[in-house]
Amino acid sequence: MRYIIKKIIILILTMLLISLFTFFAFHIIPGDPARLILGTEASEEKVALLRSQLGTDLPLSTQYTRWIGGFVRGNFGNSIRYSMPVSDLMKGRIEVTVLLGLMVIVLVLAIGIPMGVFAAGKKNTIIEQIINFFTMLGISFPGFFLSILFIWIFGLILHLFTPGRYVSYENSWPEFWRFMFFPALAIAVPEIAILTKYVRTAVLDELSEDYVRTAHGKGISFYAILYGHVLKNAIVAIIPLIGMMIGSIFSGSIIVEQVFAIPGIGRLLISSVTGRDFPLTQTLVMYVALVIVVTNFIVDILIQVIDPRIRLQGK
């Protein structure tokens, strides 16, 4: 219990630190939202008028306490560029990004784990070399490059989806999944490559354990050992990695949503940064941070439930 409380305190401190960082980072970089909205032609009075309407002319400390105070109470304020509350904007966009993220996770797990196990089974063969080659390739490809490649190959040549024509799940689930498959794959490929390598190493490590030799000596078949014992133990080693992956899936989707023009959290974040839409950016960053921090918190708890030895280290 003490372990959990300690973790929760760290979690809150992390969030507070992140809120300070994001708030001041976006106020240090140049750019006046009022001027951005009104453009070069607007008169000074008009810009000043908008500035006071937006509250961006107040002292920074006032702006911060106002924002964080509202945030804690669930009031995220109004977006500067979109004339609506931040919470309304996030509704409908969170679902898109979360669905995209889920699809990525499913792809990563469904392909990464079997591939890793398969690769471990083929140690010192030409097949292992081939898998190694492709995992290296997968890790090296940046998401935006894969996105462009997929748009070109699957969209413009093979016509498996229509680039630029996003279909909301509210209109059609099959069309939605069809459009989302390729962005999800673009985010998933590097993650699949990492997971494959990781699983392979974990399985090989496990295979060199004494109990495996003993089981082998007892005449249990290699595959029975692999699936009956080794895999289960190896997965424990993979759980923290999956926690880390949530973070990179989020950062991957920020870029990929932009390239595929998907109206999700990532694209909203980018346009809010270029538009200096501070209330929106801050809330989005806090949201993403919260998801990552909480996921890692859950992973920590999960691991220690599975393997109580970690609790001792925690003390």
């Binding site: 032609e41 413009l156 024509r165 973070g247 932009q258 270029t274 993403v288 990552i292």
Partner: protein, 517 residues
């Protein structure tokens, strides 16, 4: 915790990087001037009413309030929703719209508008003088250009609105093209997301970061639109126009000239239009070498606009020598384009005269969102090297540019296109008056101030034209900056659509587009 924070930092860095290179921002150029080229000029097909046109737009329009949202792209869309008492014609003059006629007093102080009978708003109600008074008050409250000069507004009867100005200004007519909206329709800021106007299209549905639809307004007082609806689809960046067009996700878009090299001209209709913006190498006249007129002139002689147009714009651009767009034909002085023909020797001797015989070094701050300006900078680096001047390029993001360069004037030189919010020479020339709030090049000239003041005060059309031409000449003669070109824009439709009318300001007129088969 370190790792987790760094993951987040990575995500943010990525976001910022992409943001910097992927968005096109506010005053991007757009449509005007009659079409000069139609690639697939088939035998005129019969106009067929109906259908939906999907128009791609690389920036997102997220506010439809005509008194607030003034990004150039927003204006180009709401041109179809709103109308003023008068509206701009393709030639740059003004014709009655919501008003049936207008009268301007001799001293240009009193503008009398007579309302047209039976003009309907999109909500079904008929336009009354109350609506007009409300709209003008909104324009005053929002400090729109030209409205600060209003002394009083009144409606002597239910068909007439009289606007009295503090100082006579014939140019108020261009301000009268500002939107007319129903009385009380924006009391709670509703315009932003539920705009009501009198234009040929009414606002349909808006999906954040996805699209906005416009539907034909059947009770429109004028020539009704051909299309049933227009879907303005927001695409991620201008580099995605071609992909979305080729995949069929959009039917048309406006882009830089480079696109003509990538589009199959047999299946596309291509219209070439001036962007109605003045591209210039703006020199901060307060910065040490540029405070010397001879140095500025030397740069004018060294920069070859024609080469820039040919290499950066594939030849699509109109060479400029001063600060006004050719689209405002009545006021534009085309002879100034040749004020400085390339002359390296003359440039060198001017530099020597100013005490910079060995050249000097300066930094040009270019907004990275505009590839065309970045490319232009690269060409100019080579051109200036010939007279021993070293130009370093510093790319900044749009928000930074606006604050540092435009608002704070903290720069040595920059490259930008300046557009006008209204079809009036004042929109382009007011900024060079010595004490103008937006005189970001810090140009100071008594001759200019005098000519501009006379032009604005004049109520005689011929004198106004002469004085505005004089303004342009001063800008050229005193080399306020290095004027380059009015970049041409390319409008591309697929072969299912046709119809195009250009205006000397930033607008896309959807009402003239029709479907062909």
């Amino acid at each position: 915790m370190n790792k987790r924070l760094s993951v987040l930092a990575l995500a943010l860095t990525a976001a910022l990087t992409v943001a910097a290179c992927a968005t096109t921002a506010a005053p991007a150029p757009q449509a005007s001037a009659p079409a000069q080229e139609s690639a697939s000029a088939e035998t005129a097909p019969a106009i067929k009413d109906g259908g939906e046109f999907v128009y791609g737009l690389a920036t997102e329009v997220n506010n439809f309030d005509p008194f607030k949202a003034t990004t150039a792209d927003a204006k180009s869309i709401y041109f179809n929703i709103y109308e003023g008492l008068v509206k701009v014609t393709p030639e740059g003059t003004f014709e009655p719209a919501v008003a049936e006629s207008y009268e301007i007093s001799e001293d240009a102080k009193t503008f009398t508008f007579t309302l047209r009978d039976g003009v309907k708003f999109h909500n079904g109600s008929t336009v009354t003088t109350k609506d007009v008074l409300y709209s003008i008050q909104l324009a005053i409250d929002n400090a729109l250009n030209g409205f600060g000069n209003i002394e009083s507004i009144e409606a002597p009867d239910d068909k007439t609105v009289v606007v009295t100005l503090k100082e006579g200004n014939i140019d108020f007519l261009s301000a009268a093209s500002t939107a007319i909206v129903p009385e009380g329709s924006d009391d709670n800021g509703e315009h932003a997301l539920a705009p009501i106007g009198t234009g040929p299209f009414k606002f349909g549905e808006y999906a954040v970061q996805d699209y906005v639809t416009l539907e034909r307004f059947d009770d429109y007082w004028g020539e009704p639109a051909h299309l049933d609806s227009v879907k303005v689809k927001f695409i991620a960046s201008s580099s995605d126009y071609q992909i979305s067009y080729q995949s069929g996700a959009i039917d048309g878009f406006t882009a830089n000239a480079g696109i003509t090299e990538q589009i199959d001209k047999n299946t596309a209709k291509i219209f070439v239009a001036n962007s109605n913006a003045v591209q210039l190498l703006a020199l901060n006249n307060d910065f040490e070498p540029f405070s010397d007129e001879n140095v500025r002139k030397a740069l004018c002689y060294a920069v070859d606009s024609t080469e820039i147009i040919d290499t950066v714009n594939y030849g699509y651009g109109v060479k400029l020598g001063s600060g006004l767009i050719p689209g405002l034909t009545a006021f534009y002085d085309e002879t100034l384009a040749d004020t400085y023909d390339v002359d390296i020797e003359k440039a060198k001797s001017l530099l020597a005269e100013a005490g910079y015989a060995d050249g000097f070094t300066f930094t040009v701050r270019v907004p990275s969102v505009y590839q065309v300006h970045v490319d232009t900078a690269q060409v100019i680096v080579n051109q200036l090297a010939k007279i021993g001047v070293t130009m370093n390029i510093e790319q900044v993001d749009w928000a930074t540019w606006l604050e540092k360069v435009y608002s704070n004037r903290d720069y040595e030189a920059t490259i930008i296109s300046l557009d006008g919010s209204i079809a009036s020479p004042t929109a382009f020339l007011a900024r060079y008056v010595s004490d103008a709030h937006n005189n970001f090049v810090n140009f100071k000239s008594d001759a200019y101030d005098e000519a501009y003041k006379a032009a604005v005060a004049s109520i005689d059309e011929q004198e106004r034209i002469a004085k505005f031409k004089e303004c342009q000449k001063v800008l050229a003669d005193e080399a306020a900056s290095v004027y380059i070109q009015d970049i041409s824009n390319i409008l591309v439709y697929n072969n299912h659509f046709d119809g195009y009318v250009g205006y000397p300001l930033y607008a896309v007129d959807f009402s003239v587009i029709y479907k062909v088969d």
